[in-house]
């Protein structure tokens, strides 16, 4: 039987003490997350739609 210190961590439950640093090291642009954080959910949805529409136009023009 495992002692408590030997028990494996359950998957999906681990939490990085510094998720921001981990994201930066992975290549995520934290400045974009900070900018989104300052927006309301409604504004995030509207801006997402603008980006999606732009992507669809590019796909239609066969750039993507």
């Amino acid at each position: 039987m495992n002692t408590p210190s030997e028990q494996p961590k359950s998957q999906g439950q681990s939490e990085s003490p510094d998720a921001v640093r981990e994201a930066v090291e992975y290549g995520i642009d934290i400045s974009l997350l900070r900018a989104n954080l300052a927006l309301s959910p409604a504004e995030r949805m509207r801006r997402h739609q603008i980006a999606l529409d732009r992507m669809r136009r590019l796909q239609k023009a066969r750039f993507l």
Partner: protein, 165 residues
């Protein structure tokens, strides 16, 4: 396809459909920076709710996206109980309707794990950031792992700056 995903959600809300925004679009609502082409919702799969969903989408030509021939959505009181998920394409965008979410459970559990947001005078329920992380960790596809990294960073940024949301 030229519609807006927000229009799609507004139609459902206006028709009184019981649903929670989940998946990648929930990540967008919480501030993730990626772009997603569809909306995933977890909804009550009762006949009444599914028929309300069908009515809400009736003039946007909903079809079953995954079936050969892309059959039109034609739910009836008889066949509505046969579905566990609906993968739809509409004039307004793709809409995936799920009866349960891996890592969380069925609609009632998902609703308990959701938060309410207001968008242009309407209220929507969206999976909480913690529950979305749980669901995406359960799926664990490459795009889910990417989303989890963003969501965890966003959660930390929120804690450090609680006035933003």
């Amino acid at each position: 396809m030229s519609g807006s995903l927000l229009d799609l959600l507004e139609r459902l809300a206006d028709a009184g459909v019981e649903f929670v925004i989940v998946g990648g679009y929930a990540g967008v609502v919480h501030g993730c920076t990626y772009t997603t082409q569809d909306v995933d919702i977890c909804c009550d799969f009762s006949t009444t709710n599914l028929l309300a969903l069908q009515t809400a989408l009736s003039d946007s030509h909903p079809v079953h996206r995954m079936t050969p021939g892309r059959r039109p959505l034609e739910l009836t009181a008889t066949n509505a109980g046969e579905f566990k998920n609906l993968y739809l394409d509409t004039d307004l965008g793709h809409l995936d309707c799920l009866s349960e979410i891996q890592g969380l459970g069925g609609y009632d559990r998902v609703k308990q794990a959701s938060v309410s947001i207001e968008v242009e005078g309407r209220r929507f329920r969206v999976l909480s950031i913690d529950a979305l992380i749980t669901a995406k960790e359960a799926l664990n596809r490459p795009r889910d792992r990417e989303a989890v990294r963003q969501l965890k960073a966003m959660r930390q940024l929120r804690r450090e700056s609680p006035s933003n949301g």
